[in-house]
Symmetry: C2
Subunit: 325 residues, 2 copies
């Protein structure tokens, strides 16, 4: 199975490494919008200009598109799905239906399979919401994120005047988690579910009180949360906050029985030391499914909900039944 | 979707209740090997003799077979799969490959879909082993069971001379769980993973020391475990141990990165107040998938690994994408 990577940021580098862990996958090359001669890869795999991607039509089994959801993927995925089997990690939940339609049209026109929104949320968390709600129809589900770095929130802080760099951690509330696990079906406000911890490097002489106020009152990002702001040095940021951990919980509680007398809790938890590398690892598995589905004559846009689990594994169906069932 | 239940024990009663929670499913009847007039159902659904099941060919969309794995299902599922779409919860892991082959032949001969080994283990735990190992190829997985009642172990104690009744709880070791979650990849012996708690009602005047010794030294069931035996009265057993709770954990830890420098933990946990009702709830969802797959012209034996998750949900694919992805 020949894999290409289109876009070479944190996620692209993760896919580069993840492919090495799957013995049936081979990385053909990285396609970058930057000057290929200026891109240094982790593993020495060749870099090509994104402009030349069509030269590789028929030579790549699955192209993994590693662009941003805001502006890159809505254009890239439909365009590339016309010529390649593709996987993306589109994560703007509200815009998934539109993205699906656009990609579906393109993929069908080219006779390709395009999997959108692969990763962990959307992705594995979505799957767990679906499985759990199908099994326990009379129930309620909760998604908590963290403890982990939110790159969107970190970027929002960096845009404040006087801020050099910042790292924002989303932290799930232990009290809220305990109440959900106990089957209390609590109604939780945004503020009750998560807190936000900000580590900020300010310019020398900057007005720290103003920066803290601007962070805590920022609408959408921070104003609905209990937010703490800690000013640190650039050295401390590099030393203590260089990684991109993340994770979270999908929990569904539900009732069964003659009168709902039996409670059940289904909990799925991820603790990830590297968000992009884990997302990439999920993508590497889903790329296998795309390849197999395409080989069976499938076309069009798919999501993780459409993938039979056995298509994700390097093992044969009879091995899976013998070893994992 | 018209559902039939073949066999009416704890699991059959669970399916009877679970079907009520799924508005697209309707229970046609229960088929029992006992005299139908002697079987009282929970919801007043009609009871028929199992001997007359073929009268219902073409009138049942999915037949849920609720027999035991030791002797019932190996015969029942192949026989019934020739005439009906079926679901069973066959759970003798070592014999799944043989069972699959027998059921596959029968289901294909009749043009039906037969899903075997649905439930939580095998079932949801199997799915989580598959997903997690596909995403983190360089890793190790662990399954812990409990805290919950093992009916097989409870039965084994009841067969001892002088024992009136008994309830055995399988308990996962907190130390072992903590070590696994920390990513230490421990090699754990049977004794290190679980302990066994036995609550025993003995006959008046029975030799309690002998009973305790016979339990603790029983091969396969107890001799490899740290086992505690507590003698209680029949009243205490009824009051404190009437329920059938169960659950457990599937945990996979794995590494990614240039040199495996990032650890990840994927954890799936079930806490179930009623083992048979939760198993039945999973079966009710998988019955929906069997019905849909049959409607698309699929035939043969399937396992949970072959089911695209979207087929489990009462929601339409576009609703799933909008609400759950």
């Amino acid at each position: 199975m020949k894999i290409g990577i289109y876009g070479y940021g944190n996620l692209g580098r993760g896919v580069e490494l993840a492919v090495r862990q799957n013995s049936d996958e081979e990385l053909i090359g990285i396609f970058s919008r930057r000057d290929p001669s200026a891109v240094k890869t982790l593993t020495g795999v060749p870099v090509y200009s994104a402009d030349n991607i069509l030269d590789f039509k028929g030579k790549i089994d699955v192209l993994v598109i590693c662009g941003g959801s805001a502006t890159d993927l809505p254009l890239m995925t439909p365009r590339l799905a016309a010529d390649f089997n593709v996987v993306d990690s589109f994560d703007t939940h509200a815009k998934i239906p539109d993205h699906f339609e656009n990609v579906d049209r393109a993929a069908k026109s080219g006779g390709n399979v395009a999997l959108i929104s692969a990763g962990w949320d959307p992705g594995m968390f979505s799957l767990n919401r679906l499985y759990a709600s199908s099994i326990l129809p009379d129930g309620k589900d909760y998604t908590f994120w963290g403890r982990g770095v939110s790159q969107g929130h970190s970027d929002a802080i960096r845009r404040i005047n006087g801020v050099i760099d910042a790292r924002q951690y989303t932290v799930p509330s232990e009290d809220a988690l305990a109440s959900v696990r106990a089957g209390n079906n609590p109604e939780l406000t945004t503020r009750q579910k998560h807190t936000r911890e900000c580590y900020v490097v300010a310019e020398p002489g900057a007005d720290l009180e103003r920066i803290e106020r601007e962070i805590k009152t920022m609408p959408n990002y921070f104003s609905d949360y209990d937010t703490t702001v800690t000013f640190i040095s650039e050295e401390e940021l590099k030393r203590d906050h260089a990684e991109l951990p993340h994770g979270g919980f999908v929990i569904r509680t539900g009732k069964t029985g003659m009168n709902g007398e039996h409670k059940h809790v289904i909990e799925y938890r991820l603790q990830l030391e590297s968000n992009p590398e884990f997302t990439a690892s999920a993508i590497a598995a889903f790329a296998r499914a795309v390849y197999r589905m395409s080989g069976r004559g499938n076309t069009g846009c798919k999501t993780v909900f459409d993938i039979a689990p056995s298509d994700l594994s390097i093992l044969k169906p009879e091995e899976l039944r013998a070893k994992m069932l």
